[in-house]
């Protein structure tokens, strides 16, 4: 009976500690997967694996980081087993090309330029990055983990996180700017 109480406590603790990070896990899955269905599968398998292994989680430590490292491992498993590739999806240029003249984009700085892309377009360009760069950039820029936390999740050195983030951000910027120029956004050069 004690084990039953333990199980109930485990689920209750899991809900309290891990479930609040579900959106983070889902966002990471969206960043890593080609489509919503795969992202949902990855989210589910991550949370279920986390529940199974919840006994190994040290209370008081960073649960978000713990879940993200499980997600990364599950994602690697998915690629190995299902041969799901980190997709290279082109930006849907038609979305921008179809703009009406009155919607023409004007900007005076980088921030203005980036605001002309929809959230979906920014995410699609992110998805065009190599998987490890993409995930590192996601951890640092989107989830705002510090370099040390990201390094632990990725199982790499802090210096590698910094260089990888920097490289990823530079590529992302270039790709966004390149699309902006193709779309005829004035002043899109740097």
């Amino acid at each position: 009976m004690n084990k039953t109480k333990d199980l109930t406590k485990k689920s209750s603790d899991f809900e309290e500690v891990a479930m609040p990070h579900l959106d983070t896990v889902y966002r990471a899955a969206i960043a890593m997967c080609s489509d919503i269905e795969t992202a949902e599968d990855l989210t589910q398998s991550t949370m279920l694996k986390a529940f199974e292994r919840f006994d190994t989680f040290s209370k008081g430590t960073n649960c978000k980081a713990w879940l993200l490292s499980i997600l990364r491992n599950k994602w690697i498993d998915m690629i190995r087993h299902k041969n799901i590739r980190g997709q290279v999806l082109p930006l849907d240029e038609n979305i921008v090309a179809d703009r009406k003249p009155e919607d023409e984009i004007k900007y005076s700085n980088c921030e203005d330029l980036l605001e002309n892309f929809s959230d979906e377009q920014v995410i699609e360009v992110l998805k065009s990055l190599p998987a490890e760069q993409r995930f590192t950039l996601f951890l640092v820029d989107v989830e705002q983990l510090n370099h040390q936390e990201a390094a632990e999740i990725m199982n790499i050195a802090v210096g590698t996180v910094k260089s990888r983030t920097s490289r990823a951000r530079t590529i992302l910027k270039k790709r966004l700017f390149s699309h902006a120029k193709k779309m005829g956004f004035t002043g899109g050069k740097r």
Binding site: T4, T8, S12, Y26, Q44, D119, D141, K173
Partner: protein
Amino acid sequence: MNHLSENEFEDIIRQSIPEPEHLSECDRCRKLLAEKKAVANRMRSAFSSIKANKKLVDNITNQISSKEISSRFHQVGILKKIAFKKIVWPAAAAVFLTAAILGIYVVGPSPAMAARAELVKIHRHNLSDAHEFYNESDPEKLAGYFKDKLGFAPSMPALGKGMALRGCCVRHFQGQIVGSYVVDTPQGVMSVVVVTDKPESLGISGKFKYGGRAFYKSSFAKCDMVSTRLDNYSYCAVGEISYEYLTDLLARLMPEKLP
């Protein structure tokens, strides 16, 4: 002039180091930093609206719930095996007794998580356009409806402070008929589900005191829940609202009963 290294840019963006003086002198580095920050900010804002949908949350919580149940069955299986291995025929009676106890346990109440899942389900059902939902904001009419359907009228809320009754519903919960009513509040919508089970047996076990009365809290599938006992019933307030507010609401819903 030595420009900033990529690592230095990263440290500045993460605010691990203060901005060096070089930035005030170098247009190139200043512009690069601004661009990097802009990309980081845009990335963050692009993901900010992405949230797990309700169906996904439900799927995960249901699967975790089934895992909990299957683990319990698994444990029962192990206990049975041990019992059969260690107890010989003269002790068969003890085995039967054990099996009987385990049987009662297996067919006994659903796990606490399942109970909370049902509470959340009732709340979500109340928010959908369910045919069974009785749209009525008059507390007296709701009381009459409950009396007719349940044989008693649960305590009704004292309205005001931006709260309004939306209506009520009678549904099955753990094999019993229970009533619930919905209250619109400035912080969101909550359901108050009235059940006979004690909060702890529903897995709402985080005990705390408020106004001298015992309250219990828990959460499930993005919903927080607070419960308190009143006249042999547990009033469970469920919603995507903070514990503090749910507690305050429960206390204010029953002002004449609470200290």
